[in-house]
């Protein structure tokens, strides 16, 4: 049952592909204005979970409520509340950053002038105003990742899904993304963040759910999770992760 301060509530989410159960009865809540981390090894079911939460995939079983709207029945209302930054660079490299932003903004329902205004805002937020008119294919990996996030911010969402947004980028760009995410949270946005970088989750997330083989195996604040396996002050999140998920390879 969702509490008033829960912006997202997932209950018993289940999904199978070709008889392989990818997500198995996953339940959790994300509170308003928190950064909620979803951690797990490759193939744990994080991306499939985000797809179900963001209305892209229908679950085989279970419910999701976002901002008081049931995803299964009010997907249009839900889509107005969310912004999604997929794991892949979901953009058009041949177009400029501003053209990408305006296109996705308009597809989300903004008018031409609203889309341009919003594009200018988010470009400034991700530090790309100077390169706004360059084709994205000419950008560095970090810049492309920032554009990927900027697109998700175009419709000023209340809940932002970030699916491994820092994969393969330099420390400076990663740090910039951390600052951006923290600033968004401080401005009132709720963030659901998936990663398998432990220090990233430790630094950013207010609460963390650890997923493995389609199930949530632990959930709590970073300190609470550390306390489960040792001294909260000296134990690292990676030690918690390996302790809970094991050391066998998952690829």
């Amino acid at each position: 049952m969702a509490r008033m301060e829960d912006f997202l509530a997932a209950t018993g989410l289940t999904k199978s592909f070709d008889s392989v159960q990818v997500v198995d009865s996953v339940s959790f809540t994300v509170r308003s204005q928190e950064i909620f981390g979803l951690l797990g090894p490759n193939g744990a079911g994080k991306t499939t979970t985000i797809r179900m939460l963001s209305t892209v995939l229908d679950p085989d079983d279970g419910d999701v409520t976002i901002g008081g709207h049931l995803v299964a029945k009010e997907s249009d209302a839900v889509r107005k509340l969310i912004g999604v930054c997929p794991q892949e660079l979901a953009l058009y490299p041949e177009l400029s950053a501003i053209d990408n932003l305006v296109f996705f903004g308009r597809m989300a329902g903004l008018s031409g002038s609203e889309a341009k205004e919003s594009a200018a805002d988010v470009l400034e937020r991700v530090g790309l105003t100077d390169r706004a008119k360059d084709a994205v294919r000419k950008y560095s990996g970090g810049m492309k990742r920032r554009v990927n996030i900027a697109i998700a911010l175009m419709s000023r969402p209340q809940l932002l899904f970030l699916d491994e947004p820092t994969v393969g980028i330099d420390p400076q760009s990663r740090n910039h993304i951390f600052d951006t995410v923290l600033a968004l949270r401080d401005e009132g946005m709720t963030v659901l963040y998936t990663t398998h970088y432990m220090e990233e989750a430790d630094r950013l997330c207010d609460r963390i759910a650890i997923m493995d083989e389609g199930r949530i195996i632990a959930l709590g604040t970073p300190a609470e999770l550390k306390a489960q396996v040792g001294d909260a002050d000296t134990t690292t999140l990676e030690e918690v992760f390996l302790s809970l998920t094991g050391r066998s390879l998952r690829d």
């Binding site: 592909f17 892209v56 889509r79 041949e94 308009r106 597809m107």
Partner: protein, 393 residues
Amino acid sequence: MRLVIRQALLLSFKDTRLFFKDRFAMGFALLFPILFIVAFSLALGDLGPEDEQLRMAVATEEESGFSREVIDVLTVSDATGVDEWDPKDAGLALHEGRIPGYLLFPVDFTQRIFSGEGTEILVVTADGDPETEAVLGGLAHSIGGRIGTLSLAARGVTELEGLGSLDLVKLGQLGTAPPSIVFTTEQVGDVEPFNATNFTLPGYLTMFLFFAAALGAEAIARERQTQTLERLLSNGVRRSAIVAGKVLASIYRGLIQLAFLWALGIFAFSIDFGVSPVAVIAVSVLMAVASSAFGVMLASLVRTVKSASSAAVLASLTLAPLGGCWWPLFITPDWMQAIGRLTPHGWANDAFNKLMLFGAEGQDVLVHMAALLLFAAAFLAIAVVRFRTVSAN
């Protein structure tokens, strides 16, 4: 509905913009077909609008006489292709390359015929021009034979009437065994030779329209892989708008292809749309719709970018020959024509051939248009049912 139309249009405009930024796609859709059209037009026949008719020059050194009468007969109509030249002018024109050669009747042509000594017609050509020599030699041979036949007839008449003032026996000796060649010219109006581009251009246009649309499946599969379609969906874009936008974008590209290649055909290769250009355009537009639906259908049936590429190439290179893109279906056996009817290419090419080669009117290809429309509807139905926005990973 308005939302879907708005989203579909925005998507299709964006895709068209990307097409203009993609040099490879542009080259493949617009320039690559030209190579095939030119190569196969050259191989199959003339590229130009009209074959130049060979003109034959004749000249005589006689002021009057038999040669003069022969030339008068040969030049009575422009259709014979024979022009009379002054002997000196003819020699100069040959030297300057203005004519490839000429026949020359010598100054004693008539006198030698009547004296029974035998005479000759000179075939004057430039060195190393056996074709002109053969043509003019044939004409000279024909004239000689004709004169021989006439002389035989004249001898018979003379003997019957007891006239002996002319040595017609000797005259007849000229053609004792003449090859009785008679020139008959049938003038049926301006003769335009077969312009091979009237077949090759529609054929390769059809092939590359479907090929480019099929390769569009690769772009859609890539968008699915990079999660842009997924992002659009979570942005509130309807699945039906994505399908419609992709089909529309492909139709725009097809129309650009059609406009470019038809214009090229008209201005560079003098192709002829026949008596019903509107029907040619209507068939073209329906073909663009069918090919676009085909491309999106293909995208809905494949899972990965690689499988999309393979399917596009395989489908295109199989359907093109079966559908008469490489050779006209009407020259193939019945069973192959029947197979051609199972492809949209076959209906499109048959319609183009009827309109552009055989002078058919619009109403003659209504069935073809209906068939293309049915193909488009079937492809679109499969695309709508099967279209996926999320990759299988």
